[in-house]
Amino acid sequence: MIDMKFLQVPAEFNTVMLDVVWIIVGLIAFYAGIKNLLDKENPSRIGTAVFWCSFGVVTALGSWLPPKVSGALVIVMCMPAIFKKVKVGRVNVPSKEYTKAQYSKIGMKIFVPALTVAVMSLFFALFSNVSSMIGITIGVGISMALLMVYSRDNKPKVFLDDSERFLSLMGPLCMLPQLLGCLGGVFTAAGVGDVVASLVGNVVPEGNVNLGIVVYAIGMMLFTMIMGNAYAAITVMTVGIGGPFVLAYGANPVVIGMLALTCGFCGTLCTPMAANFNIVPVAILDMKDRWGVIKNQVLVAIIMITIQICFMIAFK
């Protein structure tokens, strides 16, 4: 393949700019914490503030803090989440009339800033060695500038307050992927993968990569159905099965790793454990059948897992 990465920056550029990115992200979270601390309508001002502020500090200063201090901050952050002390305060949702009026003023042009972030992220990934995180940040900057040009109402504080609105809406669960990634790291450091691998080794003969792929893919699907979360499944399954039984024999980690996750998603489509996706909509849409959403997904999931297993075997 021709190297299209004509835009080359020195490694220090990425290091320095990444720290800038994390400082901005940390400040956004910190702002959310302080805003809730001062919000008299929030039923749990201190817990909410502790959660977002400790996350903000560890994110902004993670490159410089000693690891043990960062680890302690992560534990501090988890406490209010575990004790359900992270709450939503005053919510400033734009009225229907307002968004309609804005739409009649801005129109389809609104798609331009909406797509900018992904386009920038893709552009820098394809044509430069600039980190995707920096690409996304540049995209967000351009998008904000466009929105400010579209309407004078879009002042800097509006952006900050709206990001707080969405952070609070998502709540502590938005930390789940990062915490699961963290747990995967602890598992690896403790040698959990080796133990799982030696157990699976009793059942799956080593060296049969195709069989390994089938076990890994179906394992991802079943594990996800039990846990309701493919992100939780993939760390354990990859360390225990994907690595020792598939990748260790030279299979392509890009194909195997990526498709394993979407094999897990086939499990998500089939399980009431993924309540957010499969049970909550039943309530939102006033459906009679609790399984009404899942019933429409099972066939797609079965066909997709089959296609993906074939794809993994063909392109390993």
């Binding site: 992200v25 994110t59 043990k68 995180m133 952070l167 450091a189 360390v239 979407t262």
Partner: protein, 231 residues
């Protein structure tokens, strides 16, 4: 006793299956794994710190939240609804599929329209009901139940398979970091490219199945006077 190291895995499986608080499960699993494997308290703190900081890229969504709310405030949903209205000779099934394509395409750009609560219920379902009436039928309650099920299913399928196409999304980063801990370096953009055919197959497959199902249901509930009768 090497098996004791699996206590964390057991806690994760049992915890999620018992619907305990997700963060509590992860916390307990990390603490117990660290303690039984001899990492100790200091090792636990160190591992948590190193890994949390190393996984910071998953927090990049917070940067994007700077614009998510403001886009909504400035009429993104209204624009998406307007796009949907352009679907020619709409039936309920076709509208669900149009939504799937729209959701999948924009999902790949990490742009959402509010999901089931924000878009399917307030925008898509009234449009589907309108389409059934336009064909000269009174929407049947059983049929609408299926349309709701298909619309939610489409929302999930399109979002699941297409979100991983966004370079910088949590899924790709998690895969990248998991592989990295095993010693394999992969690029986010390569992960997205690999997923592209799978995502397209998923959306097309769901669309074909749902259009077929809706045709069958229309016949069942409203008789053989099918969609073209009123044209």
């Amino acid at each position: 006793m090497e098996l004791i190291k699996l206590i964390g895995v057991v806690i994760v499986i049992a915890g999620f299956a018992l619907k305990l608080d997700s963060i509590l499960i992860i916390f307990l699993a990390a603490v117990s794994t660290a303690l039984v494997s001899g990492l100790g308290v200091g090792g636990l703190l160190e591992q948590l710190g190193v890994n949390f900081v190393a996984n910071r890229s998953m927090a990049i969504f917070i940067m994007i939240l700077l614009i998510t709310g403001v886009l909504e405030r400035n009429g993104l949903r209204e624009a998406a609804a307007d796009l949907m209205r352009k679907v020619k000779s709409a039936t309920a099934g076709k509208l669900v599929c149009a939504y799937g394509v729209l959701r999948g395409f924009f999902g790949a750009f990490n742009v959402g329209f509010g999901g089931v609560a924000g878009f399917v219920r307030p925008v898509l379902l009234p449009m589907a009901e309108g389409a059934i009436k336009n064909q000269g039928h009174e929407p049947d309650e059983e049929h609408m139940e299926d349309v709701k099920g298909m619309a939610s299913a489409m929302e999930n399928i399109a979002w699941f398979f297409c979100q991983v196409l966004f370079v910088g999304g949590a899924g790709g980063i998690l895969v990248q970091n998991t592989l990295q801990s095993l010693g394999y370096e992969v690029e986010l953009v390569d992960l997205a490219v690999t997923e592209l055919p799978i995502a397209i197959i998923a959306v097309v497959l769901a669309s074909v199945l749902f259009i077929m199902k809706d045709k069958k249901l229309t016949k069942k509930y409203y008789g053989d006077k099918n969609t073209k009768a009123k044209k």
